[in-house]
């Protein structure tokens, strides 16, 4: 390798380091804000009826997963290492959203806020744009479609070079993951609670889309990713995605199991003899 080339690569790496330093604090800020808001609300809400500690623990776990994805050693390594990148993707787009959705933040805020503000929040949740993206089918397209765009176009390279693209992609991965998970689990109150079969079908499509993309990446690495890294990264994506989605499937089916339980009181005709 020519000394000039070497120097160019070194400069390139320095550039990466600087960019990471400048981007990660900004990505960590929203997570720290929502963590404080939730803990404050849970604490305040205690006056009326205690908010379950398990939900607070889930929220903290979700924020910690997100923080591990945007700052610290894994996030640093993700700029040059596809396996680390995939770890970030799984933490930020799948595991953190699962924990956060299970923590039922909207339920907590709606019951903690003063009536006026709670109404405002619930009106916001029913606004057209939010109604649209919280439909599981739309959330599916934003989530899995976004991943296909990221890995099959030059967006992946752009994300590594441009700070704004980097921040945008990470926020999108997180928000799309959260909205999707929340729309499938339906733990928080929603204007429309979609039928079980519809949510199951959408989750099935998401699981399939995720595993097809992982196997596709095994053979077609994004630009600048070596085939060894692509193979390890895609297998992590495949099996890691499976693990999180399996939890979602279990929660969804247990909702059906609960809703379909035989009820005596609801059947007045049982006096038939």
């Amino acid at each position: 390798m020519l000394p000039v080339q070497k120097r160019v690569i070194e400069m390139h790496n320095e550039h990466h380091m600087q960019m990471t330093l400048s981007a990660s604090p900004w990505l960590a800020v929203p997570f720290i804000i929502v963590l404080s808001l939730y803990v404050w609300a849970a604490f305040r809400s205690r006056r009326r009826k205690a908010w379950p500690a398990s939900r607070t623990a889930l929220w903290i776990a979700g924020v910690l997963c997100s923080l591990a994805a945007v700052m610290g050693p894994v996030a640093q390594k993700a700029h040059t290492d596809f396996v680390a990148h995939m770890t970030v993707h799984l933490l930020l787009g799948m595991l953190a959203p699962l924990f956060l959705a299970l923590a039922a933040p909207m339920t907590l805020f709606l019951r903690t806020l003063p009536v006026q503000q709670a109404r405002l929040l619930s009106r916001l949740l029913q606004s057209r744009p939010l109604l649209f993206i919280t439909n599981p089918a739309a959330a599916l397209v934003l989530n899995i479609g976004g991943l296909w765009l990221l890995y099959t176009t030059s967006l992946y390279t752009l994300m590594q070079e441009n700070v704004l693209a980097h921040v945008f992609v990470h926020l999108h991965v997180f928000l799309a993951g959260y909205v999707f998970t929340a729309s499938i689990l339906c733990i928080d109150p929603a204007p429309f609670r979609r039928r079980f079969r519809f949510r199951a079908a959408v989750l099935l499509l998401a699981l399939a889309g995720h595993s097809i993309l992982s196997k596709f990446l095994y053979a077609h690495p994004p630009a600048g990713v070596s085939s060894i890294q692509a193979e390890a990264g895609s297998m992590l994506m495949y099996y890691g995605g499976d693990a999180v989605d399996l939890v979602l499937v279990i929660f969804l089916c247990s909702q059906w199991f609960h809703a379909a339980r035989p009820r005596k009181a609801a059947r007045p005709t049982t006096t038939l003899s």
Binding site: L207, G209, I212, K215, D245
Partner: protein, 158 residues
């Protein structure tokens, strides 16, 4: 209470649910067995085969997704049958064998051979493996069908 609700709803409903619960669990179980034994333990199957068609990739993705749903959903249906005391074990077992056989036959003929997803094992006489694979699938289907059709409502577990 249970006798009454049974009379009203009619058992045919739950007879089908017995078969479905078993069928789904059978599909899921074979898919899990395939992944655990042939992919992870024996390393006979490959994660990706260069000769895979794109239809094969899509089919594999959907079956992979469906198999998780089938395993979990089949077991929840099983739990539902038990809490209603509507479980007909013979029918359920027949369903398992049917589901397992149908999936294994699809995997062995369509996915391995037509879509060339991956071979059972990367050896010269792979046809021998294919033969054993598909014959065992057909046997499971036959035994499953016999069990499921012979099961009667009277076989219901208490």
């Amino acid at each position: 209470m249970n006798d009454q609700s049974r009379n009203i709803r009619g058992s045919s409903n739950f007879s089908a649910r017995n078969l479905w619960s078993g069928f789904l669990f059978g599909v899921g179980f074979v898919a899990f067995f395939d992944e655990a034994v042939f992919h992870q333990l024996l390393h006979w199957h490959h994660f990706y085969d260069q000769s895979t068609t794109s239809a094969g990739l899509v089919s594999d993705g959907f079956f992979h997704a469906f198999s998780w749903f089938a395993t979990v959903g089949g077991l929840f249906l099983f739990a539902d049958l038990r809490r209603r005391q509507e479980l007909v074990r013979k029918k359920w077992l027949g369903g398992i064998l049917l589901g397992a056989g149908v999936f294994q036959l699809y995997d062995g003929v369509i996915q391995h051979k037509v879509m060339r997803l991956h071979q059972i094992r990367y050896v010269e006489n792979v046809w021998l493996y294919d033969l054993v694979w598909n014959i065992s699938a057909v046997l499971m289907i036959i035994v499953g069908a016999v069990l499921a059709t012979r099961a009667k409502k009277g076989d219901r577990d208490a």
